[in-house]
Symmetry: C2
Subunit: 361 residues, 2 copies
Amino acid sequence: MDPREVQSQENSHQNQSDSRLAIDIGGSLIKLVHFRRSADSTVDSPNDSLATLDVIDNDSAIKGRLHFAMFETSKINDFLEFINSNKLHLNAGGRANDVLPEEKVFVKATGGGAYKFANLFKEKLGIILDKEDEMDCLVAGANFLLKAVHQEAFTYMDERKDFVQIDHNDLFPYLLVNIGSGVSMIKVDGDGKFERVSGTNVGGGTFWGLGRLLTGCKSFDELLELSHRGNNRVIDTLVGDIYGGMDYSKIGLSATTIASSFGKAISDNKELEDYKPEDISRSLLRMISNNIGQISYLNALRFGLKRIFFGGFFIRGQEYTMDTISVAVHFWSKGEAKAMFLRHEGFLGALGALMSYEKQS
Amino acid sequence: MDPREVQSQENSHQNQSDSRLAIDIGGSLIKLVHFRRSADSTVDSPNDSLATLDVIDNDSAIKGRLHFAMFETSKINDFLEFINSNKLHLNAGGRANDVLPEEKVFVKATGGGAYKFANLFKEKLGIILDKEDEMDCLVAGANFLLKAVHQEAFTYMDERKDFVQIDHNDLFPYLLVNIGSGVSMIKVDGDGKFERVSGTNVGGGTFWGLGRLLTGCKSFDELLELSHRGNNRVIDTLVGDIYGGMDYSKIGLSATTIASSFGKAISDNKELEDYKPEDISRSLLRMISNNIGQISYLNALRFGLKRIFFGGFFIRGQEYTMDTISVAVHFWSKGEAKAMFLRHEGFLGALGALMSYEKQS
């Protein structure tokens, strides 16, 4: 399980006048957010761990703590067991009193799995998944993070991370790019005001799926770890490889620009086994990050958007991924547009589903 | 060697008052165009074979035949031997008399290999490669084909090929997308008037390189052949796979839309060997074709271009490739933009280099 798991689940069934559970079941990952009201944790401060976040919401005076967790969708039975053993679903819908285990409870859920696994939740735990639209939730989650959480957004380029102070009155419009298994690109004009303008099927699932086939890695994290030590130039064709070491300066391509990802694999007398998994992973990560950065920029350009926020669990705070995306946006926009990242990148949908309890009440 | 090779090379050294040779050396492939003036072939008619093309150019009154050939760049020594044994380089620059084998001859060349292999040509055959800019040549070649060759451009969608009659007065502007190892996207405003506005490193070299690593195929054609028999749904995650068979109709995604290319490879307990090479090849071809179609459309949109001509040797007249690109352009542009293809797709650069003899004289 991911280190960002829910912590301190002891006594979760006691003395909770208000706790809420929301889940986002994607093609690859299940994301969970659990909110617990508390009187003692009232500081809205960033902390190093991403597993929890203390919240004050001045408007509704809710004080409490958010807990975050992630599972692989393929291990959904482990996830159900985790909910059950920690009794997270009890009182999850924000009702005043605990329900008996055999009673039905409603839990806010989003992502395709909210449909696909609805029966499984009902049969195993008596949970009725109260489905919220995926795009609604992504936008609500992003807006919440950008408005309510201090030091949530940051830029990353040239090994430098800079937090961005967001002026609430100058937040919209922006492009939200959520990189899950696939990628959604959403033009956000305000709270609940948005349009999904584009997307691409080359996303986190592609990195993980292709990477697994090529390297035999068993997990996404293992694949990412490999990429840190790799050198994509072993396998990518650079402009200099085609031009005999020269730049193609007339059109602004330096000798080190990638002309063709994986292009060197065509002419070598090498087989897959002859390449280092590290180099393959790095080439793949760069190819996909760059591609997403480019398509994002082209969509931002269509609508004159200067800010692009990248979310989704593909990124995972990986410096190389963020740097590649940032460089792509910077290069293609000639510095006009800016890539920004979110500390709680993977939980936009789950947070949005959690927000929807408010909307209801 | 490709079937589109130069034919009827016998007697190539005799009775040629005017023959010209031009080559385009890319990251993966060398393309050759050889022009031989002749009195007897004067009909500008399309023929089934792409190996030759009869030409009348009314402006300059040149009559003759173009011969086309292709080699892998990695087999450049075979290519040099082919030129030498067929004496294609002799009189290649359009000079009146043959030169002796030990004399230096000038041959128009483009692509990065014109730089990289300049010394090799000089040492082995005494050929001085007279370098022409790659983008200049692509545009000149495309404009020549679109203006001078009957039934050159066509659309392909839903298994239907329709030749497009191009009005010479209404040709410009258009977007030229040349898919070689990498991809260049060029806004063409007239003869010699153009700008390379974008490109992507996910191109033909990526298909071939990744495909070779994943399937062990030894050639591009073998990999393409495999893709005909494959089913990408075995390995791609569709929207329906995430949504339990349902459409995500609110945002216009049907259950059969690919949500994540290669996404299914993450959760299965399968290894690379458990997947059919056919399915892998098809998934890869679809991923790359769709990606190029999308980025092309987004660039056409920036400049209000309704017509996108796709060239480069990636396509190779493959119906599935063209259909995927066409569908991508149609889908993203909501039918506003049109993908068009060229019968001599792979030879734009080489043809442009050939044109440059005219420019000089």
